[in-house]
């Protein structure tokens, strides 16, 4: 295939993936030079700092050049490939179509046929073939232009006896287990998560402090408001960060920056693929309901792979919430360059000692949880972590 002089060359450029992104890496090409591609079909896969995405072809045509090899990083706007766009003057391939076929006035559309000999079949032909397991490529057609007609399939089935079905559908025999296959390497996302986590453990002096919280009021309120417990914990953390601003900070090397906005990272599991931490920007401006809506939104977009790089940048504090499986404690790894991360796990009913206003103790059943805070001992000390957790506990136990 070659481009004709009437073709127009169209550039495929590195797209702008968000206002703060300046460059991207080509992860894979879906085409080779000489391949045909339809407009909007995926031509390449690219990656920015955290987001993998696909680049749609800007035009239909033939790929004439690929300028950026796989794993190369180029700036936004760089021409990555060129396509010789098919103009209107050049009809879609009809090389096998006989010319000069006359038509009567009855408008019977002729079925389009691709040049590679691929055949198309009418609905009834496809249905009969599917019902009887007929390989239509084996059927010779007697219709116009060799089209396979209904009677052709029926005649084929008459002549070719249908293969006897097996006497039983499923055999009790099971093959020997296959040795596990080494899968070459980790996915890009797993590698990135690994690098981040390993670097955090190498760089930070991570300690974890726990506190028990009575969630009775949160449980009552969340049922009433119709949001998750996470939204209340998030709101309590934001208020506690206002009281203890030293935890809403970045430590990059020896540069410690205390931040005024609370941009709250929420860890979202992507199942087998990994984990991503979208950020609820300016979370301190949001109510519990507002936080719930934004958390729902970023989680949905994360799972739909619709996050932009701006959605995962600028976090000042992170909450991780893997409690739906019943686990009660963890030692989360700090999300650099932040200085602390809060772990919120399952809420479990426990028998606890409660003291009434007169100082009398009794045993009561209360929904309890254990909040864990991993903090960077380079940036702060244990007393501050404990004070922060105590504030969160006080706020959650006084929710109204």
């Amino acid at each position: 295939m070659s481009s004709s002089p009437t073709d127009v060359l169209v550039d495929v450029t590195m797209p702008q993936m968000g206002v703060s992104v300046a460059e991207g890496t080509v992860v894979a090409w879906r085409v080779e030079v000489g391949d045909s591609i339809e407009a909007d079909a995926t031509i390449a896969e690219i990656s920015t700092d955290k987001i993998d995405t696909e680049v749609p072809s800007p035009a239909s045509g033939v790929v004439t050049e690929i300028l950026v090899p796989v794993e190369s990083t180029v700036s936004v706007g760089t021409v990555m490939a060129r396509i010789a766009a098919t103009g209107a003057s050049q009809p879609q391939s009809l090389d096998g179509e006989p010319a000069g076929q006359t038509r009567t006035e009855t408008p019977i559309p002729s079925l389009p046929r691709a040049g590679n000999g691929h055949r198309r079949y009418s609905p009834v032909v496809q249905r009969i073939a599917a019902e009887h397991g007929v390989d239509l490529e084996q059927v010779s057609g007697t219709g116009r232009g060799g089209r396979v007609r209904k009677q052709d399939v029926l005649a084929f089935m008459e002549s070719a006896p249908v293969e006897e079905p097996p006497l039983h559908i499923e055999s009790p025999y099971r093959p020997d287990p296959v040795a596990p296959v080494v899968d070459g390497g980790l996915s890009r996302m797993r590698r990135q998560i690994g690098q981040h986590m390993k670097r955090s453990l190498e760089v930070t002096a991570t300690c974890t402090t726990w506190i028990e919280v009575d969630m009775s009021r949160v449980e009552a309120a969340r049922t009433r408001v119709g949001v998750t417990g996470l939204s209340f914990v998030a709101r309590a953390c934001i208020d506690a960060l206002r009281e203890h601003p030293a935890l809403n900070a970045w430590l990059d090397g020896e540069t410690y920056t205390r931040l005024s906005d609370v941009n709250l990272g929420i860890a979202v599991s992507l199942g087998d693929d990994g984990l991503i931490v979208p950020v609820v920007q300016r979370a301190h401006e949001l109510s519990v309901e507002g936080l719930a809506a934004r958390i729902r939104d970023v989680a949905r977009r994360a799972r739909a792979r619709e996050l932009t790089p701006d959605d995962v940048q600028g976090g000042t504090f992170t909450i991780t919430n893997p409690g739906q499986y019943g686990s009660i404690m963890a030692t989360p790894i700090i999300n650099l360059p932040q200085v602390a991360i809060l772990d919120f796990e399952a809420v479990i009913k426990r028998a606890v000692v409660v003291t009434d206003a007169d100082g009398n103790d009794s045993i009561a059943i209360r929904p309890m949880t254990i909040l864990g805070l991993s903090w960077d001992h380079r940036a702060l000390d244990g007393a501050l972590a404990a004070q922060f957790l105590a504030t969160v506990k006080r706020l959650l136990e006084s929710v109204s």
Binding site: T104, T106, P107, I108, P109, S122, P123, V124, V125, R127, G143, R144, R147, R149, K150, Q151
Partner: protein, 322 residues
């Protein structure tokens, strides 16, 4: 069983109804003393009197409006439009009053409107139309179109007995050309389709005068193909089951309309097949219809626009070869 023409079968049904049911009366222009433009009611006024065979003014709106009132108080009026083309003057009464009376007020309007329709005799643009699709498009009105003498009688009995307004499309071209054995007395033909000729390779779907055209077109065997002819008989209700059954067996369909092509009854049939018969199709649904032009006076021009035997035959051959 007596052999009657299509016209005699219609007369027979009207006479039997007038004799059997005192609630039945006829209204129309020149249907009394003159016996009707096509002599369908010839001699009726002598037997039944001018109260039951009423000559009306030339006012279709008045005929239908009066019939609606009579029907609401328990009569069973049968209105004759001298030519179906003239129904446009009675459109509002039929479509808006009769068709929606039961929906609005719960009152039955058991009127029958006879519509002598169709071309083929150089009647020109005002005396040759096939306006059935206008009424198919309007809820509350049934539409039937017989193609044989027997169905002409049976469908007219059923129309008069039906509690709804019924447009009875009687094709003028068939009046004296179609003959057949017709049972005596009152009997009803159901509002369903009829397999006029069974087949398995292709089905031609038609109604009214086009059934004869279809039968003649496939009479030479079409190179040995097995061709079915389905006579719809009723357009509202449309016999979806019979249509889809034919399509499933034959997989190829030619639909004929004598009416102008756009939004004709056949267009509705084609839409039905596209929606519910798709997986049975082995070729495009082909329509043969009158183009969207007025019917010309000139005999050669009229013959050129109305679907004829050769056009139908050619369409069938093309589709069979597909």
């Amino acid at each position: 069983m007596p052999t009657l023409t299509y016209l005699q079968a219609i007369s027979s049904a009207l006479r039997d109804e007038l004799r059997a049911d005192p609630r039945v009366l006829l209204m129309g222009e020149d249907i009394g003393v003159f016996g009707g433009a096509f002599k369908v009611t010839d001699g009726f006024v002598d037997e039944f009197g001018t109260d039951r065979v009423m000559d009306t003014p030339l006012a279709e709106s008045g005929i239908i409006g009066t019939a609606i009132g009579a029907a609401v108080v328990g009569m069973r009026p049968v209105c004759e439009m001298q030519f179906s083309d003239f129904i446009s003057c009675g459109f509002d009464q039929l479509v808006n009053v009769a068709g929606k009376m039961h929906y609005r007020q719960g009152l039955a309007v058991p009127i029958t409107v006879r519509l002598p329709s169709g071309g083929g005799f150089s009647g020109g643009p005002f005396h040759s139309q096939n306006p059935e699709a206008w009424f198919m498009h309007s809820p509350g009105i049934k539409v039937v179109a017989p193609s044989t003498a027997s169905d002409a009688k049976g469908l007219l009995h059923a129309a008069i007995h039906d509690p709804n307004p019924v447009c009875y499309m009687e094709h003028k071209h068939l009046y004296r050309r179609v003959k057949g054995e017709v049972p005596s007395g009152v009997f009803e033909t159901p509002f369903t389709a009829r397999v006029a000729q069974p087949g398995s390779d292709l089905v031609v779907i038609a109604y009214g005068a086009m059934v004869s055209v279809a039968m003649e077109a496939v009479s030479d065997g079409l190179d040995g193909a097995s061709v079915e002819v389905l006579d719809l008989r009723s357009l509202v209700p449309l016999d979806e089951e019979a249509i889809l059954d034919s399509v499933e067996r034959c997989s190829k369909v030619v639909i004929i309309d004598e009416a102008n092509s756009t939004c004709a009854a056949g267009a509705q049939v084609a839409a039905l097949i596209a929606e519910k018969g798709f997986e049975s199709l082995d070729g495009p649904v082909v329509r043969v219809a009158t183009p969207d032009v007025p019917i010309p006076f000139s005999p050669p021009l009229e013959a050129a626009v109305l679907p004829g035997v050769e056009r139908v035959r050619e369409a069938c051959r093309e589709l069979l070869a597909y």
